[in-house]
């Protein structure tokens, strides 16, 4: 018998096509008669449109069509939507402004869409776009979220004071009581810097209308093609769902930014019928910077109440979240239910009260980006916990241990019910890997060299796979968050798995196949994972929020059904009672005899249907499951970062980075390590390098290219020391938790705790760039002198 496949570091099946250049991305798709689109975008952050004259552009060489917001309105197409309704603390629904796919009378950020120019070639479309005459009446922009509520500029008339909602979570009276009796209160101001996603593959789409079937096909860089189809059908009204096929082929990285339904794909699909030709658009990198949904951008004040014995009594948080100029598809949920619900961290805190104001500004829309809300929550709690330890002059490890949750299940005051975990175990393992005991000696040695060393912790928890659907629905979600799986066994014993969990870097084609192969005792080559096409997969919710465990559970449950049916068939073929059939190592056996059938033999029998009564058992072998999880999964662990700062230049070097994560049972450790590595790279990027910056006066995106936006490169990153601890997740049969975002969630706080430790400062915002670190040293030295 072969070695177990589940839990083995099997090489990714998909890599052969990727590393040999045979991946098939949206831009690789070319349809017969295809045209090319270019979007006219606003060069201003805020302006009234006084006129859009397309006549010269329409007359230009090669131009097939030029369409504007007026054309969209004439066809009565709906605007883009935000799919999660948030209710303010005063009971009023959130105040969202309209979001037309092409601007009608106002543009609200640099890059906002005004018109689509469609031509025979991309160059012709781009040339003609320059001929679209737009008359602007410039208005002053507001870009700073902290000032949005007092600024005279009004981004949307629907949202007075630019305030979309004022939301709260937690137990306010208990929290006030906790602060009233506190022996010590620690306060901290924090900002969570705006990030620009920068997937390697820019967004792209091809919209195609087929007159013969009166149906549309959209090829698009999407993490969730079914949701895209649902939104474009039910809300935007391009076509009924059964007349709209959405295909998300290979997708070169999403990190959240390809969850959303964007103006470009809507407009290209709609326009393909207007011009009766397929319409293709691929973003240039500059357009990605301007128009992909950005991430994070919070301003927060936090306070932690402690008793005389350093036990945490309560946490109070006030956050302003910048949602940009329009509400993107899931934007409202990120700074609320994905943020406030995680503020308890790994700590036994009985009183938490958080308020979040979401504001409009004249900047690109902000939505989920790897971690989505949970990095922001972890940053708040882990920074203030470390700060509290410093103020109390306690070892940060001892202080954390004093406050850890140790009894499960644990109900926090902010909705979450932690099902299982062992925070001491991952902390212990991380302390060893990081050689915490040796840190004072290393710090002294660095000091002797004129360098500043610091060490920081982040003992994080996060929540993956939003669930169950009824619960997320009661919180305002417009969709359920189950996942589907259909397992089709072919007559010769091959297995096709149709999953709604799209794969764009996660390696589903491998891990899902491992689960199937391991379970059925068949070679992995006999398993095909199919995803990303609404014509093959009936429905699915897509991949984000580290929710593949939901999809895998759906597959696992479908396999239960396959096994059950196959046993019945085997019983007839082997002329035994179904109760006597056991399934082991890919074989159906009559217990206690040598009579048996291989999996493929049973499959063939299922389809020829000669040996069982089809009045009792239907021919064929195909089962499907819609799995709605009963709870989130709660990955948790410890990250430890050690930095060394050169006080002459302000350069921060990460000398050691340790991460010990508890993801429950792991299907493929190599893939999981890859996810952790990538996540930490993004977290370090946020902490040290990346910052999306708009000019506060003009609203221009200053960091609109790699000349100014610092993407992490290999030599910015250390080799990580990684470890795993395991407490199996009780809410799914495989005992797995999500792993895709933990790295990005946990690491920024660890890095910044290390930086502030080295600098001996309390408040210091990300990114810790050399110039800002140098200025901080300069200030502290000047203050000390």
């Amino acid at each position: 018998m072969t070695a177990p496949v589940i839990g083995a570091s099997i090489r990714r099946k998909e890599d052969h096509r990727f590393i040999t250049g045979q991946g098939r991305y949206t831009d690789d798709i070319n349809r017969h008669g295809q045209t090319h689109a270019y979007f006219v975008r606003s060069p201003h952050a805020h302006a009234k449109l006084r006129g859009v004259d397309t006549s010269a552009a329409r007359a230009a060489k090669g131009v097939v069509g030029v369409l504007t917001g007026a054309d969209l309105a004439a066809d009565k197409l709906g605007g883009l939507i935000c799919g999660w309704m948030i209710t303010s603390k005063d009971g009023t629904p959130m105040k969202a402004g309209a979001h037309p796919a092409l601007a009608v009378d106002t543009v609200r950020y640099v890059g906002d869409h005004i018109a689509i120019v469609i031509a025979e070639t991309y160059g012709q479309a781009k040339d003609a776009a320059e001929l679209v005459k737009v008359e602007y009446e410039e208005l002053p922009p507001v870009v700073d979220p902290a000032k949005a509520q007092s600024d005279a500029t009004q981004v949307h008339a629907e949202a007075p004071r630019n305030t979309i909602y004022q939301w709260e979570i937690g137990n306010k009276p208990e929290t006030e009581a906790a602060f009233a009796k506190a022996a010590q209160i620690v306060k901290l101001d924090l900002t969570n810097n705006r990030l620009i996603p920068n997937a390697m593959e820019p967004r792209a789409c091809v919209g195609e209308y087929d007159d013969a079937t009166s149906g549309y096909t959209l090829y698009v860089t999407s993490q969730n093609p079914h949701v895209a189809r649902l939104v474009m059908s039910a809300f935007i009204g391009i076509a009924p769902e059964h007349k709209l096929r959405v295909v998300a082929p290979d997708v070169g990285g999403g990190f959240g930014s390809k969850i959303f339904i964007y103006a470009e794909e809507v407009v290209c699909t709609w326009a393909s019928k207007k011009v009766r030709r397929p319409v293709k658009w691929t973003a240039e990198r500059s357009e990605s910077f301007l128009s992909d949904a950005h991430g994070r951008d919070h301003v927060t004040h936090a306070e932690l109440a402690l008793d005389a014995d350093a036990k945490m009594l309560g946490l109070r948080v006030k956050t302003i979240a910048n949602l940009g100029a329009y509400m993107s598809t899931f934007s409202s949920s990120v700074p609320t239910y994905l943020y406030g619900t995680l503020l308890s961290g790994q700590y036994d805190l009985s009183a938490i009260y958080a308020e979040v104001d979401a504001v409009y500004t004249n900047t690109a829309p902000v939505d989920a980006y790897r971690g989505a809300g949970r990095p922001e929550a972890t940053y708040v709690i882990e920074r203030i916990v470390e700060e509290a330890a410093r103020q109390l002059k306690l070892d940060p490890v001892a202080f954390r241990r004093k406050n850890f949750v140790r009894k499960f299940p644990h109900q926090t005051p902010v909705i979450m019910n932690y099902d299982a975990g062992d925070y001491d175990a991952s902390l212990d393992a991380a302390l060893k890997l990081a050689d915490y005991a040796g840190f004072p000696a290393r710090k002294a040695a660095a000091k002797a060299q004129g360098k500043l060393r610091g060490l920081g912790f982040s003992t994080y928890i996060e929540a993956c796979g939003l669930a169950p659907s009824a619960a997320v629905g009661s919180l305002g979600a417009g969709v359920g968050l189950w996942e589907s799986a259909e397992v089709r066994v072919t007559p010769t014993g091959g297995v096709e798995v149709f999953t709604g969990a799209h794969s764009h870097g996660q390696g589903h084609e491998t891990t899902f196949a491992q689960v199937v192969a391991g379970r059925l005792g068949i070679p992995m080559e006999n398993v095909e994972i199919i995803h990303g096409d609404t014509n093959s997969v009936q429905f699915g919710m897509g991949t984000y929020g580290s929710r593949a465990a939901v999809g895998l559970t759906a597959v696992s449950r479908a396999l239960d059904k396959i096994e059950a049916k196959a046993k019945k068939i085997a019983a007839h073929v082997l002329e035994a009672s179904a109760a006597d059939i056991v399934f082991e190592n890919g074989e159906f056996k009559v217990a206690g005899t040598d009579r048996k059938l291989a999996f493929h033999e049973v499959a063939l029998n299922a389809y020829v249907a000669h040996k069982f009564p089809t009045s009792e058992i239907e021919p064929g072998l195909k089962e499907s499951v819609f799995h709605d999880p009963t709870n989130f999964t709660f990955p948790a662990g410890t990250h430890i970062c050690e930095v060394e700062i050169d006080p002459d230049t302000g350069v921060t070097t990460i000398v050691s980075f340790t991460a010990v994560d508890d993801f429950g049972n792991v299907i493929n450790p190599m893939i999981v390590e890859g996810q952790v590595q990538g996540g930490i790279a993004q977290g370090i990027g946020q902490a040290l390098l990346e910052h999306g910056v708009y000019d506060k006066d003009s609203g221009q995106l200053i960091t609109g290219s790699y000349m100014d936006y610092t993407m992490p490169r290999a030599d910015d990153l250390p080799s990580y020391k990684l470890g795993f601890t395991v407490t199996p997740c009780p809410s799914n049969p495989l005992g797995m938790k999500g792993c895709g975002e933990a790295g990005a969630i946990a690491s920024p706080a660890a890095v910044m705790n290390a930086v502030t430790d080295a600098l001996g400062v309390k408040e210091f915002n990300m990114p810790a760039t050399p110039s800002r670190v140098w200025a901080a040293i300069h200030r502290t030295r000047a203050a000390a002198e």
Partner: protein
């Protein structure tokens, strides 16, 4: 990019003629600055005259001078045994320009003709007191770099080669901009037969010589000699990546490190 005509002349004469007869023409060398500019539609030349077909690359060492053809790629300078053996600081500098793709395309002539305020080569040319040979004359580095993206080159004048006198000691210290990796501050120090030269790039609108440091190093070519020299932030660049004060401070730090490297 916009449409343009493309020419690939075989000789400098032909190139100059094409330039004169083609309205708003531009010379194309490695294209590492010009092509991105065109792609972003920030320039609209009527014609591109590719200098790649003209024999203008190569490295010669003679009479205490290293002469490098304008068409020589950064990679070839970085890996040249002749350059490493005579002016290792120059090979080191070329080896830290951009990334491997840029170094395999970008040229010495294109870099100095472009005179980006954050480019590396101008620091070596000025720091070593190089002579820039063109289709019509020879220009001292001191007279060549005249301002931000500006040089003494006249319309249609082509850089053909650059001669770098071999110094006694030299080193280049670059503090890269974290995002672009161009020089935020780069300091080239050289102890030459005619005196000490300190050239600074990245910090201001164009490469410049730091005379206070040159005087101090002439007395004592040690890191300590420059450690106490504070550079005024008055003319320094300030942006998202660093204030003028920070850049001024970095000039001193990089100068100190460059001297330490030169005498190591």
């Amino acid at each position: 990019m916009y449409q343009f005509q493309y020419f690939r002349p075989k000789s400098l004469d032909e190139a100059r003629k094409l330039y004169e007869n083609n309205g708003d023409a531009k010379f194309l060398a490695g294209g590492q600055t010009l092509i991105p500019t065109l792609k972003q539609r920030l320039a609209q030349p009527t014609a591109l005259i590719d200098l790649g077909g003209i024999a203008m690359s190569g490295i010669k060492v003679a009479g205490g001078v290293v002469t490098i053809g304008a068409g020589t790629k950064h990679f070839d300078v970085a890996t040249s045994a002749d350059v490493k053996g005579t002016i290792p600081a120059l090979a080191h500098l070329a080896g830290h320009i951009g990334d491997p793709a840029v170094r395999h395309m970008g040229t010495l002539g294109g870099s100095i003709a472009n005179n980006d305020p954050a480019a590396d080569y101008p620091a070596a040319a000025l720091g070593l007191g190089a002579t820039i040979k063109t289709t019509s004359r020879s220009i001292n580095a001191d007279d060549f770099f005249t301002g931000m993206f500006e040089t003494a080159l006249e319309e249609g004048e082509i850089v053909t080669e650059v001669s770098f006198p071999v110094p006694e000691k030299a080193a280049y210290m670059k503090f890269p901009n974290p995002a672009s990796r161009y020089a935020m501050v780069g300091v080239f120090v050289a102890k030459t037969k005619t005196g000490v030269r300190v050239a600074v790039t990245g910090a201001a609108s164009s490469v410049f010589r730091e005379s206070a440091m040159e005087a101090a190093l002439a007395k004592s070519f040690t890191p300590d000699a420059v450690a106490g020299i504070k550079v005024s932030p008055a003319n320094m660049n300030g942006d998202l990546h660093g204030t003028a004060e920070y850049r001024a401070h970095l000039v001193t730090v990089m100068a100190k490190r460059a001297v330490a490297a030169a005498i190591a």
